[in-house]
């Protein structure tokens, strides 16, 4: 049974997705490399995450059987992020609707897998996941900044540099948040003053 707030969240997320899929919005978000990867990608992952939150418990249980300690889900998430950071994909999705559809589904699934797995993963699995994904993102960002040539035919060189900087900043912020959350969980970081 789905609770009413869940139904509301699902409806709101689907409405947001429909908005992102509107051709003018899609064109705008895909008009620059940095908007494409730093805005559209995270929004799609977030939508997948929110949709998975509204999954009824009856659906989660069979999925959990394939996802001990959230390992399969986090692996799926990391692999998806690796593949969508291949520069060729950014060019292909602009001209081939099949790749665009696959990208959307993969990023939604990535967000859903994250939601289904994160709380089930222990600190070790979480740390392993972030320890792989965040350095990879920072390295890709550095690569995008250092490449003397354009990596995507459809995007400008200064846009590529901006995306690289954004990826490095994003990975640093995510790492800082993760470390703070880990410290808080280990009671080494006061969440708020205790009365």
């Amino acid at each position: 049974m789905r609770r009413a707030p869940d139904r509301l969240l699902a409806a709101a997320t689907l409405a947001g997705l429909a908005l992102l899929a509107l051709p003018p919005v899609r064109r705008l978000l895909e008009s620059s490399m940095s908007l494409h990867m730093l805005v559209q990608f995270p929004l799609l992952v977030a939508a997948g995450y929110l949709l998975a939150r509204t999954l009824p418990a009856g659906w989660r249980r069979p999925l959990d059987a394939w996802n001990a300690h959230g390992m399969a889900g986090l692996l799926a998430c990391a692999l998806t992020l690796m593949v969508v950071m291949i520069p060729r994909l950014l060019d292909l999705v602009l001209v081939d609707a099949r790749f665009e559809a696959a990208k959307w589904l993969a990023l939604l699934a990535c967000g859903a897998a994250l939601q289904l797995s994160w709380s089930r993963a222990g600190l070790l699995v979480q740390a392993f996941f972030l320890g792989n994904v965040l350095p990879m993102m920072a390295a890709a960002g550095q690569l995008y900044q250092d490449a003397p040539l354009r990596l995507c035919n459809a995007y400008l060189l200064d846009d590529q540099v901006r995306l690289g900087q954004g990826l490095v900043i994003l990975s640093l912020v995510a790492a800082a948040v993760a470390i703070a959350a880990g410290l808080r969980r280990a009671n080494l970081w006061p969440a708020r003053a205790h009365s």
Binding site: H69, M71, L75, I86, P87, R88, L151, N153, Y155
Partner: protein
């Protein structure tokens, strides 16, 4: 746990297979790299779009390239460009000098195709060619007069032109070697211009692609 391990293995395989396909076996990480590999594997016939330019008889690009005599090295340009087109120009100047200096004249022609037909009319191309020191015996300039046909040509050769918002363009500039039957056989980097010229000469002397 067993099911999780099976799923993890399947995910790893799927990601590996997907990435391998996307990158032609982890060789081409960019669309430009993929374009070069795919053109080398299956050559692309030049489309029969109308072209015009100084010293070029009215006709179409396919007839110009598939003249049955010359192997062509083609580059895409726009004459208002300040950066990459100039490097393309200097590369073509070097290639022209090499062709002029050869003891036996090679059956190779250099062709600069403008993708900015609005600004690059034949008079403008003529002035630009003079400025570049282009010798019409070796190196000619053309434009495709209509934007629709220009786009058809760019699509056929998978050239992507991006306006930079300041009146300039960025595009995947390269040296395209077209055989005398009008098929685009190979794409080279500007840095590989010696290789491109050697390859064109090799074809011109009847060598196998």
């Amino acid at each position: 746990m067993f099911r999780t391990a099976v799923l993890c293995a399947a995910l790893l395989w799927a990601a590996y297979a997907g990435a391998a396909r996307l990158t032609h076996g982890f060789v081409a990480w960019t669309e430009e790299g993929a374009r070069r590999i795919e053109v080398a594997r299956s050559p692309v016939p030049a489309p029969a779009v109308a072209v015009q330019g100084p010293g070029v008889a009215a006709g179409d690009l396919r007839a110009l390239l598939a003249n049955g005599r010359d192997v062509s090295v083609v580059e895409f340009v726009y004459t208002h460009c300040e950066t990459l087109c100039l490097s393309g120009g200097t590369v073509f100047q070097q290639m022209q000098a090499a062709l002029q200096a050869a003891p036996r004249p090679a059956r190779v022609q250099l062709l600069s195709v403008s993708f900015d037909p609005r600004r690059d009319d034949p008079a403008r191309l003529d002035a630009y060619a003079r400025g570049m020191g282009a010798d019409a015996r070796w190196w000619r300039f053309v434009r495709v007069p209509t934007p629709a046909q220009t786009q058809a040509l760019l699509d056929a050769f998978r050239v992507v032109v991006v306006p930079d918002g300041r009146g300039d363009f960025q595009h995947n500039a390269a040296l395209l070697v077209v055989h005398r039957d009008g098929r685009l056989l190979r794409i080279f980097d500007f840095a590989q211009h010696q290789l491109a010229l050697d390859y064109a000469r090799h074809l011109a002397e009847g060598g196998t692609p």
